[in-house]
């Protein structure tokens, strides 16, 4: 996110005072940059190195990835699941964020606590809770059968649907908080102005509020999508046999086959594809607006 830092540096109308301010900003950035460099960038290079090193430099691990279709298929499945989860989180999160951003402050505070509350419990506990709810003899199915809505229990768990429900639930707060922070910055007077100029509620929303909240949509979907790509516990517990996600394969290479070079190579491929996806998305959504909003 140092994009706003560099944007400041390259601003054409820079005077001496501005330059001093810039230097101060860079100084403020320094701790974060050092931390990221030490604990993120440096280990990342380690992984890159490990992916081409196995008793000597070799591309064997990458050859193994393309030798069969398994790994690329799993990566494709992972991206698909992430996209579905992101879309559902957006559809569920947008109205919630809207309420959060527009209700009375005291109520908003309560709502924020409710949204953040799930973070206080371990993800494994929450996933097991979903399994109790969605199982063949779980609470949801018992109600459905008792109410006569279905004859036999529905397959809600151990399939793609279970994975999507579980992941959406875990990731929804990230979407809501990102959206709400942007929505709170939208001046309500603008919507009122639209009304006074004859716009219907829907028109005012679609032509004024929605475009202004676009940076939130861009940021929220990006955050949820990228977090989805690395998901591991929820699909492992709630998915069916063929709901394999790439993080599960990487974990298996680390913990079971102990082929860390191959695990690293899978990680590098995933990172590369994610970065490509990010670049495309950046172009499409003109994400620089997101950083402007934050700057």
């Amino acid at each position: 996110m140092n994009a706003d830092g560099s944007a400041l540096v390259t601003a054409p109308t820079m005077v001496a005072a501005d330059r001093r301010e810039t230097r101060r900003y860079l100084l403020l950035l320094l701790p974060a940059l050092l931390t990221l460099g030490t604990f993120f960038v440096y280990p990342l290079f380690g992984i890159l190195l490990r992916s081409v090193y196995k008793n000597g430099y070799t591309l064997e691990s990458y050859r193994q990835i393309v030798r069969t279709s398994v790994y690329l298929t799993v990566i494709a499945l992972t991206f698909r699941t992430a996209a579905v989860v992101t879309l559902i989180a957006l559809l569920l999160g947008y109205p919630l964020a809207y309420v959060l951003a527009t209700v009375r402050p005291r109520l908003a505070r309560v709502l924020v606590v409710i949204v953040v509350l799930p973070f206080l419990t371990s993800i494994i506990v929450r996933t097991y809770a979903w399994m109790v709810l969605l199982g063949r003899n779980g609470v949801v199915n018992q109600y459905l059968v008792a109410l006569g809505l279905t004859q036999a229990p529905l397959p809600l768990l151990y399939n793609q649907a279970g994975v999507v429900v579980g992941m959406t639930y875990v990731l929804l707060p990230f979407m809501v908080l990102t959206l709400a922070s942007v929505m709170r910055g939208i001046d309500p007077a603008l919507v009122r102005a639209a009304h006074s100029l004859g716009a219907s509620r829907w028109q005012a929303f679609r032509r004024v509020f929605l475009p202004l909240s676009a940076p939130g949509i861009a940021g929220g979907t990006l955050l949820v999508f990228i977090l989805s790509l690395g998901f591991f516990i929820t699909p492992a517990l709630m998915g069916g046999p063929s709901d394999v996600m790439i993080a599960m394969l990487i974990e298996r290479e680390v913990e079971f086959t102990l082929n860390w070079s191959f695990a690293s190579a899978l990680g590098v491929i995933l990172l590369a594809l994610t970065l490509i996806g990010f670049a495309v998305y950046y172009r499409l959504m003109r994400l620089e607006r997101l950083f402007e909003g934050l700057g």
Binding site: V70, A108, R109, R184, G185, V244, R252, E255, G295
Partner: protein
């Protein structure tokens, strides 16, 4: 640019919840979630020993039967740390060994051994247990067996009253005669149930190894329509059977017993069980190596082993231990003479040598059909 920001800040203040509040709240929540598991504690005068644990009902039993009596007898504090196999190896590779005693299944131990991460077991220095009493199969150079457990055919007694349950893996594979959802093990649990698949396909118990991987997967094809889930942890397998998500499945005998003892209508078919061994070992470079060897010596005595078997039905490796185990407890152990005769001994070495091949084939197989 700065104009927008100022507006945002004003608005944030007016609504009472600033982004900073949100972030602070989230950060606090994350900090709680990632709190370090090892809390620094004052070491006692006798020093300490750091033990790798694997959780569940087994860990509770180990604490009661071995850890607490050991600390009482020696004054040595035992610090329990959960760690995965990957983490143990990472510790070894980086030279930053935070653990002394490892307790792990045969496959994991062979992996550590192959990387040269294990110290030799100091049998000659044992003062409490007699090395000659240890079962020769588990008395190895750099590891010594602590328990026997079995992967068994578990069934729900409401779906199949005892006497009408599948009596073999071939019957487990018979989807018409025994109707109902099933589970088998995922590779993440340590191994997939290739042995059971081969037994179901007619391979005799004593001719299993080396496993015919392709034949095993062909056999798995036949049972797959009835498989609801491949379980990756003992906890998941127990929950699926207890919740009646499945009515039949492979499961570790101790996990099934723990829920059955709490009243779940579950039982074990002991025929063709996969008998497996688990081991103590000392990591090379352990900071408290001497205490680690003392701990293992203590743990291998008949008495603690018998006490462990009373708490959780995993079999002792010290042959003298059976003397102090009551008959009703012995009857539940996977290594009791009766159960042992009907089981086969899993070959951890084969799994260690073939895991890369099996892993890739397993992923392929999972994806090929929905």
């Amino acid at each position: 640019m700065s104009q927008t920001r100022r507006e945002q800040m004003v608005l944030a203040r007016s609504t009472g919840v600033s982004r900073r509040h949100l972030l602070a709240g989230t950060a606090a929540a994350l900090a709680t979630a990632s709190m370090p598991i090892v809390w620094p504690r004052r070491a006692s005068a006798a020093g300490k020993v750091v033990l790798r644990t694997i959780g569940g009902a087994y860990e509770e039993a180990v604490v009661k039967a071995i850890v607490e009596p050991f600390t009482k007898a020696t004054g040595i504090e035992v610090v329990k740390v959960p760690a995965t196999l990957g983490k143990l190896l990472a510790m070894f590779e980086s030279g930053n060994i935070e653990l002394d005693v490892v307790d792990a299944g045969e496959l994991g131990m062979i992996s550590l051994s192959q990387k040269g991460a294990l110290e030799k077991i100091n049998y000659k220095g044992w003062k409490l247990a007699n090395p000659d009493d240890m079962d020769p199969f588990i008395r190895r150079d750099d590891m010594v067996g602590d328990i026997y457990f079995s992967s068994v055919l578990g069934y729900n007694t409401q779906a199949f009253p005892t006497g009408k349950q599948p009596r073999s893996w071939a019957e487990f594979w018979d989807l018409k005669k025994f109707v109902g959802p099933r589970m088998l093990a995922d590779l993440a649990s340590g191994n997939i149930d290739l042995e059971f698949a081969l037994l179901a396909d007619g391979v005799p118990k004593d001719k299993l190894y080396p496993l015919d991987i392709e034949r095993g997967f062909k056999s798995l094809d036949r049972v797959r329509p009835a498989i609801r889930k491949f379980w990756d942890t003992g906890a998941l397998s127990a929950q699926m059977l207890a919740d009646k998500e499945v009515v039949l499945g492979s499961i570790w005998n101790g996990r099934l017993q723990a829920v059955a003892d709490k009243g779940a209508p579950l039982a074990i078919e002991w025929n063709e069980a996969s008998l497996q061994s688990q081991y103590w070992g000392v990591l090379k470079g352990a900071k408290n190596a001497e205490n680690a060897h003392r701990f293992i010596d203590f743990a291998c005595q008949p008495e603690p082993q018998a006490n462990l078997a009373k708490l959780i039905p995993y079999g002792p490796t010290n042959r003298q231990a059976f003397k102090s185990i009551p008959a009703d407890v012995a009857a539940r152990l996977p290594s009791s003479p009766e159960h042992k005769a009907r089981a086969f001994l899993q070959n951890g070495k084969w799994w260690a040598d073939n895991r890369a091949k099996v892993s890739e084939r397993w992923s392929q197989w999972l994806l090929q059909k929905g």
